[in-house]
């Protein structure tokens, strides 16, 4: 160890000597020194650097010590602090220790007309042996297009690019029971007014856009469903896709009036862009950017009292895309 340090010292010393022996630069000073640095600037920079070093050590200490409380905060404080003092040291050095001289340069002229001309000429002259230019361009174009297309064809493997039927899939079928958030079947007489429930089809994956429905109960007198959906709301219970027809977020808000005479009627609201749907009128859009009503799921009550789907949704689930029908079944 000792020998190592001695060797290191010798090397540094050697460098020093050699530098002092060398002749000065070729043509006098290049950097104009300007006025002398203010007194104490060097000491200040050295002190700042030492504080940075201390904070660096502090970070390693915090990192290594498990008993430190609020470790993330202390780590950020020490590491960020170390950077901060280094920054102040450098900026102080830049302001006071380093000569501040102005230099001038010419802006380059960005254009070189003679070079442009020469390049044009090289390209033209290189093609001087070609006589059937059109033929070659056509053949080259065909080859380029075909090979280019061939090279990007494997991108079709990314997904079912040509067949969009998958977008219409939902797991709902007639007779499937509604399963609540808690994993238990949803009984019609346990569904209360002025709140909303999330339900899924039994035996189905929950991670599908078409799976979740939001269930609310309204006084039957308030329901103004389209005539063909008259049988879809047993006991005033209606179910809609929980996925907004605007941009696919979950309809996670239920606006219910706290004072019915003056406040707007109950509505299902998406928290992403506040599309607002009217559950009493078959999911019509009342406000916000959605362009289609919320698809309604027909409901019926089984002999066991459990809510069941009466069929599939009234329309396409999720955001719209070209070819989706804006009204009526998919």
């Amino acid at each position: 160890m000792k020998r190592f340090f001695l060797a290191l010292l010798a090397i540094i010393n050697g460098f020093r000597r050699r530098r002092s022996e060398e002749p000065p630069g070729p043509s006098g000073p290049i950097v104009s020194p300007g006025p002398p640095a203010p007194r104490g600037a060097e000491l200040a920079v050295a002190a700042l650097l030492l504080v940075a070093a201390l904070l660096g050590v502090g970070f390693m200490f915090v990192y290594a010590t498990e008993s430190v409380g609020n470790r993330t905060q202390w780590e950020g404080l020490t590491l960020g602090g170390a950077f901060l003092f280094l920054a102040i040291a450098l900026i102080t050095a830049g302001k006071h220790l380093v000569p501040e001289e102005e230099v001038e340069e010419d802006y380059h002229d960005p254009e070189h007309p003679s070079e442009e001309e020469a390049i044009d000429q090289i390209v033209r002259e290189s093609g001087s042996r070609i006589t059937r230019k059109k033929l070659l361009i056509t053949a080259g174009g065909a080859a380029g297009a075909a090979v280019g297309l061939a090279a990007i064809t494997p991108a079709l493997t990314l997904g079912p690019l040509l067949d969009t039927d998958e977008l219409r899939d939902t797991p709902w079928r007639r007779g499937l029971r509604l399963i609540g958030d808690d994993g238990k079947p949803m009984f019609a007489d346990q569904v209360e007014e002025e709140t909303f429930y999330t339900a899924f089809p039994e035996h189905a994956k929950r991670d599908l856009l078409g799976a979740p429905v939001v269930v609310v109960r309204l006084p039957p007198a308030q329901l103004k469903l389209p005539p063909e959906r008259a049988q879809w709301a047993p006991m005033g219970i209606v179910a809609f896709s929980k996925v907004c027809t605007h941009a696919g977020c979950a309809i996670a808000l239920y606006r219910k009036p706290t004072f019915a005479p003056t406040q707007p009627r109950p509505a299902l609201v998406c928290p992403c862009h506040y599309s607002t749907f009217d559950p009493a009128r078959g999911g019509e859009v009342i406000f916000g950017p959605a362009g289609r009503p919320l698809p309604q799921l027909p409901l019926m009550v089984g002999s066991d009292g459990v809510l069941r789907a009466g069929g599939n949704f009234s329309g396409q689930v999720g955001p719209s895309y070209s070819t989706v029908r804006s009204r009526g079944p998919t």
Binding site: I88, L90, V98, E105, R206, H246, F287, Y321, S322, R327
Partner: protein, 454 residues
């Protein structure tokens, strides 16, 4: 020792003449010129912290059950991706510091880029010969927005999932190809196949960063080539000659100091100011959503646009042609990008001035440009602020629907107001300067006339 190092370098590369020139490269000094540097240094912090995070992040949607130290999530089913980020936050030493610093750096990066863009616009620094630099910068900004979006989307917490659902909605809404496009990206119906996570991951950690880094190198190389613009601060600063501090020694400690200051601020933020506490949102499930969750600020303008568009899909008869999210989520940013890309050519045509400009304008020097810039900024900003209408409703009780109607009208009217007001202010400032100059001249003449008489 320095001599030896230089000799070694020169023998190997022959770069001494270039290096010498670079050391004495003249860099004009003005505070507004450091905004771009701040962005560059934030990018360096992003790469550094990002590499650290990849060492622990598991880009997998495979389900697992959480059994870590954060009690409220214990026993919950979640993806490996989400679990690994909760673990980075709670169980990897310095993991939370680096994660939060990374997130803060992304927010600061985009902010610095946009301020830099505004500086370049309002000083006319995009004019020839720097038009290509402007174009590259814009491509970088929009790539960065996508990069940031992917970054917080890969985590698979509830916020990620909601953001991705909106992205899915926007992809679906594209005219004609929407359904195919969304299926190709997600590999199937939302939330997509497991490989979708790998696609986001490779794009976020390799493809987009490499693209941004390449664009940064081009951007800076072209700045070096053309030299920086300068203000008319000294009579020696002309269209043909640049006056500035040399890169070495004067600029070097300042610039390195700025880099360390950026790193300092980001690590202090990362350590002391919480950002995106994903363990509070929980894992994403299709059927769940939170109210009041806000995306990163740089996506606010898109949220605002998506919320302002009136509720309609473009249909032919009964069939949808264009879904509603297209207008706010795709067309609006596209228009913003195209307008900004078209700025240099449009100004050349309108002012009939295609010459090169190395002297930067002050905003008042070009009232038309400044007024247009303020109008455009007003338009985008109002749409941005519209994205906070729900928070204003919660905090101040202002009617949400009333606010939306206000912003719909204001975003169409106020840009014109901003245009005329800005133009008037610029002209008035010019006029005031002219009067000042005339008075000074007259006073000097009067003083000169008085002198010989006395």
């Amino acid at each position: 020792m320095i001599r030896r190092a230089v000799a070694y370098l020169d023998r190997g590369t022959g770069a001494s003449p270039l290096l010498r020139k670079t050391l004495r490269y003249a860099f004009p000094d003005h505070w507004s010129f450091l905004l771009g540097e701040v962005a560059l240094y934030a990018f360096i912090v992003l790469v550094g912290t990002g590499i650290y995070l990849t060492l622990f992040f598991e880009p997998s949607l495979a389900k697992t059950t959480y059994n870590g130290v954060y009690a409220p999530l214990r026993g919950m089913e979640m993806s490996q991706a989400y679990k690994s980020v909760v673990d980075i936050s709670y169980e990897r030493n310095a993991g939370l510091l680096f994660r939060q610093t990374h997130h803060w750096a992304a927010d600061v990066f985009v902010a610095a880029v946009i301020l830099h863009l505004m500086r370049v616009f309002f000083t006319g620094a995009f004019r020839r010969p720097r038009t290509l630099i402007w174009t590259i910068g814009l491509l970088m900004l929009f790539t960065s927005l996508l990069e940031g979006y992917l970054g917080y989307s890969m985590v698979d917490d509830l916020l990620s999932g909601m953001g991705l659902a909106i992205g899915y909605g926007v992809a679906l809404s594209m005219p004609i190809i929407g359904g195919n496009l969304a299926l190709a990206i997600w590999g199937g119906q939302f939330p997509g196949v497991h490989a979708f996570e790998s696609r986001m991951y490779i794009a976020h950690v390799l493809i987009f960063p490499a693209l941004i880094a390449t664009l940064i190198v081009l951007h800076l190389a072209l700045v070096m080539r053309h030299h920086h613009t300068q203000f008319r601060m000294s009579p020696r600063a002309t269209e043909r000659r640049v006056i500035g501090l040399p890169a070495f020694p004067a600029q070097t400690p300042r610039s390195l100091g700025l880099m360390l200051a950026v790193a300092a601020v980001l690590f202090l933020l990362g350590g002391l100011v919480q950002i995106n506490p994903i363990w509070q949102w929980g894992p994403y499930q299709v059927a769940q959503g939170t109210n009041g969750a806000q995306p990163d600020w740089y996506l606010g303008w898109l949220i605002g646009a998506l919320r302002l568009v009136p509720g309609f899909d473009l249909t032919i008869g009964d069939y949808t042609l264009v879904g509603n999210p297209f207008w706010g989520g795709a067309l609006f940013p596209l228009v913003v990008l195209l307008v900004l890309l078209a700025v240099p050519a449009a100004e050349r045509r309108l002012t009939r001035d295609g010459s090169t400009h190395n002297l930067a304008d002050r905003p008042r020097d070009a009232p038309g440009r400044t007024a247009f810039g303020m109008a455009f900024l007003t338009w985008v900003s109002l749409i941005f602020v519209a994205g906070s209408a729900d928070r204003m409703y919660v905090f101040l009780g202002l009617s949400y629907e009333g606010q939306i109607w206000f912003y719909r009208v204001a975003s169409l009217v106020l840009p014109f107001v901003a245009y005329f007001v800005t133009r008037r202010v610029c002209l008035a400032l010019q006029e005031a300067e002219r009067i000042d100059a005339e008075r000074e001249l007259a006073e000097a003449e009067a003083a000169a006339a008085r002198l010989p008489a006395s």
